[in-house]
Every structure is written in structure tokens, then in C-alpha cells.
Symmetry: C2
Subunit: 104 residues, 2 copies
């Protein structure tokens, strides 16, 4: 996997009436992507406690190539189409890692 | 380590003139905390590409107890005192995990 890691923060607002369905689809997409794609290094999704329909996802891909490949996978395309009507706002923020550590 | 994980997002603004020094102190604190503290599961710090003095940190602790212990460590207290004059704004956002996956 060549290139430098791609790191991004996604901020989403979800239709409150569809929130439970959205959360299940997102969790499934994350688990599948990290399990099956060598180039998807981490996907960490959280909801803001005081506004649970506000979701943030910290995404780490091994390279630009890995990110582009991810966008073409069947599981990502399924997530994207099934959640299209649930997401009321999506902001993608390019970020640069300072230090990223987690337990092995 | 009892209890449920504590997950939090910190949003910081740093004095641009102190940014390099801040980044080094933060990276050192993260590496030390994850290496030495069983209850610090992950610390992921990034800077926003278009506003590099805007920092976000996704923090995962094993429990409330682990988080409270972290606050008393020598390395955290050193980071806190040495960066006090560099941080112009700090917002702590309690969040709940939806799915958190990273490569082993």
C-alpha cells in the first residue's frame, strides 16, 4: 500500500426519526470495511451525547488509493444508497494526524 | 478495569505562534499515555488542514476510573502545565461510541 495515510473527519446530521436505522447501517459498514479492506486502517464513529443525531466519524485509510478503492466496494455503496434519505447534512473535513495511538 | 468505556472529543484552538511546541508536547503526552496506562485505550489527535491551529482529539478510556487516574499521572500533569499558555480555547464533548474499529 503506497502513499501516505488519508485521515478525515466526517460530521453528519441524521433525521432523528431514522436514527436507529442509520446507526445499524453505519456500524455494519464500519465493521465490514475494517475487516475486509487492507487499506481501511480505522473507522471510529461516535454520537454527541447531547445531540445524538449528530454523528462524527474519524476515518483513517492507508493511502489515497485505498480510499478510492473503498468508495467502490459493494458494502460502501450499499451503505451510501440505503442511508441517502437519512442524512440531512454531511461535512467532510480533511485533517492531518499529529499522533494516533491505540492499544494493540 | 471495570465500568464502561469513556469516549470524548476534545476541540482545541492553539496560539499559532506556539503551534509547533504544542504539537510536540501533545504527541509526547499521547505516546506516553497509551504506552504506560492500561486504561488509556486510544488517543487520536489531528489538526484541521485548512486551520492547522485547530486540533481535535478523540479519546478512549477503559472506564471512568481509568480516566480519573490518567488525570493524575506525571506525564499528563506535565503536558497540562506546559501547554496552559498555548491553548486559547478548549471544548470537551462527551460522545458515545457507535462503532470503533481499527486494524490489530
Amino acid at each position: 500500500m503506497r502513499g501516505k495515510p488519508v485521515v478525515r473527519m466526517a460530521e453528519l446530521e441524521i433525521d432523528p426519526e431514522r436514527l436507529e436505522a442509520y446507526r445499524m447501517l453505519l456500524a455494519e459498514e464500519i465493521e465490514t470495511s475494517v475487516a475486509l479492506e487492507d487499506g481501511v486502517l480505522a473507522l471510529n464513529a461516535v454520537s454527541v451525547r447531547d445531540r445524538p443525531n449528530s454523528i462524527r466519524i474519524l476515518e483513517v485509510y492507508a493511502s489515497r488509493e485505498a480510499y478510492e478503492a473503498h468508495l467502490q466496494t459493494a458494502h460502501f455503496l450499499k451503505y451510501k444508497s440505503e442511508t441517502a434519505g437519512m442524512v440531512t447534512s454531511l461535512t467532510l473535513i480533511d485533517v492531518d494526524p499529529i499522533a494516533m495511538r491505540s492499544k494493540a
